[in-house]
């Protein structure tokens, strides 16, 4: 059976910044357990000496020149913000880190 415990689901949800209820945690642990057991077959497919492919079409060295392109106006930038003030995006206070 899989290693997807409710505590792991809680940890992953917190890394993903998604609030989860206890009931959701239980349900997700079950569902993810089944999925993980199924997808874990990939570990059987490969040996160490196979290269990883992260990009399907091999390309390299694609650059843009260092020139300025038009930016949005401040009004445009803030146009879909849930909240703003003083030309900036407004958010609730940040968790006290200090």
């Amino acid at each position: 059976m899989s290693e997807i415990t409710p505590d792991l689901v809680r940890h992953l949800a917190s890394l993903s910044r998604i609030l989860v209820t206890d009931q959701e945690v239980e349900q997700l642990a079950g569902e993810l357990g089944i999925i993980v057991d199924s997808v874990a077959t990939v570990t059987k497919a490969v040996s160490g000496d196979v290269a990883a492919t992260s990009h399907p079409i091999p390309m390299a060295n694609v650059y843009r020149e260092d020139v300025i392109l038009p930016s949005l106006t401040q009004l445009q930038a803030l146009s879909s913000a849930p909240d703003s003030a003083d030309g900036r995006f407004k958010v609730n206070a940040i968790l006290d880190e200090d």
Binding site: I4, L8, V9, L12, A13, S14, L15, S16, R17, I18, L19, V20, L28, E31, L32, I34, I35, V36, S38, V39, A40, T41, V42, T43, K44, A45, V46, V50, A51, A52, T53, S54, H55, P56, I57, M59, V62, R64, L72, Q76, A77, S79, S80, A81, P82, D83, F89, V91, N92, A93, I94, L95
Partner: protein, 500 residues
């Protein structure tokens, strides 16, 4: 002009350029129909008659001035709602983006505008394109015009049902693991996923960046080729877009010739697990090709066995990162919990309420696949499977010019049938996923109705990377074999929506 809405885009383009019909007339015909019938199919999440007609009027003005800017000048089109549009809300089928009007147009949308193709509206999809039925759309599922109790495929079921229901002559889809091809198969339409990078992804709300590709959903192969010619090409905004064009797809269609063609049948995708009627349609396609003179060879792609597993690690991993930007700060939904919440609380509450269950499932799965201690086993192994699939395909393409598979294991299933069984849902893409993992082009062409349920079946044609022309060429051959038999396209047999 009663048959405008059942005409192909190529015919409509001809009517417009020969001034037999205006873009406004044609666009109006589709708007009339979709305003009436969209409540039945839920194909469109958004349309705006005035805006579409204003674009049609501009196209007509250009024609009046003697300017034809593209082969599809004036032909209207539907756009999947995960492409940004400055003049229409863009939701990606999610509550978290409800009401967002983007500050920029996707490159593909810009190209449609530059080609003077009026946009009819934005089509439905599974939330963030995660799904194969549109049942995961936050705005309700789209319905299959062949049978309104059935799914039109997904994630691009809005576009496929719009084509099959004649609510648009052309549509844009996006395909991460089959989201263009699977819905095309479910609805008897044609859907093509070009080579990765052939069409710019700029403005496509990313699901899995290394798998996503935009492509056409149409009535027939020629329409798809015409549309790919309009939307394809290098884009400096997308560093992964191919530096050079792939030539004219329309030209490839015109050159279609079965002589000397070697067709590969993938051993792993030609027997087990397919609905008998779907398998029968596929065997029929192979027989028709052989009879027409193509050489049929069986090819072995053992790594395909692991494709779905690799896909469901890579996709959630990339998606978990791509979807992190939905945080209630710069755009979209904000849910502020009671009390004195910090921004962290606000983000977590917004994402819990704004994302649907499948999205949350995949984000958490992807976070797991990338987390330290698991990366090598999961994400790392999945990337290696990708290499194996590329190697298998490279070998197969030394034996055959193209590979054929059934597009989907079944015909369209009932709405609600698989929605609570993620694993069953994931297997819908078993035949389409390898193309995304390897970056190669694939197209689904209708190849009949399954005998047991009378619903459309599709055949998938895969070609080597960059050989999209080859893919269209063979698609056109297959299409012609069936046209010769049927005397009309399969989609002409779709039931009358107005009567349903």
């Amino acid at each position: 002009m009663t048959d405008i809405t059942s005409s192909s885009a190529a015919i409509l383009a001809g009517l417009i350029s020969s001034k037999k019909a205006s873009s406004v007339e044609i666009t109006t015909a589709f708007l009339d129909r979709l305003e009436k019938l969209n409540p039945k199919t839920n194909s469109y999440l958004y349309f705006n008659r005035e805006n579409s007609l204003a674009q049609a009027k501009r196209a007509d003005q250009q024609l009046a001035e003697g300017k034809t800017v593209s082969p599809l000048h004036g032909v209207p089109i539907a756009v999947k709602d995960n492409l940004t549009t400055t003049d229409a809300p863009t939701t990606a089928g999610s509550k978290i983006l409800e009401g967002w009007v983007p500050q920029y147009d996707a490159t593909v949308v810009r190209k449609l505008r530059e080609a003077s193709m009026p946009i009819l509206g934005k089509t439905n999809l599974d939330e963030f394109a995660m799904g194969s039925s549109t049942e995961f759309s936050a705005y309700g599922p789209s319905k299959n015009p062949w049978d309104l109790s059935r799914i039109p495929g997904g994630s691009g079921g809005g576009s496929s049902s719009a084509i099959a229901g004649h609510l648009a002559p052309l549509a844009i889809g996006s395909d991460t693991g089959g989201s263009i091809r699977f819905p095309a198969a479910m609805t008897g339409s044609v859907g093509a996923k070009p080579t990765y990078g052939a069409v710019s992804r700029y403005g496509l709300i990313a699901l899995a960046s290394s798998l996503d590709q935009i492509g056409p959903v149409t009535n027939n192969v020629m329409d798809a080729a015409m549309l790919q010619d309009v939307i394809g090409g290098h884009d400096p905004h997308d560093s992964t877009s191919l530096p050079n064009g792939l030539g004219s797809m329309v030209q490839s269609v015109k050159e279609a010739d079965v002589k000397g063609l070697k067709v590969g049948v993938v051993k792993q995708l030609s027997s087990d697990g397919f609905q008998p009627g779907v398998k029968a349609c596929f065997d029929d396609t192979i027989e028709k090709l052989a009879a027409a003179g193509a050489e049929i060879v069986e090819v072995d792609c053992p790594s395909f066995e692991y494709a779905v597993a690799a896909y469901y690690l890579i996709l959630p991993a990339e998606a978990s990162s791509n979807l992190a930007k939905f945080d209630s700060v710069r755009f979209g939904l904000r849910v502020t919990p009671d009390g004195n919440p910090t921004i962290e609380n606000v983000m977590a509450a917004t994402r819990e309420q704004g994302f649907g269950p499948e999205v949350k499932r995949r984000i958490i799965l992807g976070t797991y696949a990338l987390s330290s201690g698991y990366y090598d086993a999961y994400y790392g192994s999945a990337q290696k499977v990708r290499t194996l699939i590329q190697q298998d395909l490279a070998k197969a393409f030394t034996q055959a010019d193209v590979l054929l598979t059934p597009t989907a294991p079944t015909t369209a299933f009932k709405i609600g049938e698989k929605v609570n069984d993620p694993l069953a849902m994931y297997l819908n893409d078993i035949a389409t996923i390898p193309a995304n993992l390897a970056g190669i082009p694939g197209i689904s062409v209708p190849n009949g109705l399954a005998s047991e349920d009378g619903l459309p079946s599709g055949v998938q044609i895969l070609a080597p990377a960059m050989q999209d022309g080859q893919m269209y060429r063979v698609a056109s051959i297959v299409e012609k074999l069936y046209m010769d038999q049927w005397g009309a396209s399969l989609i002409a047999r779709v039931p009358d929506l107005e009567a349903l």
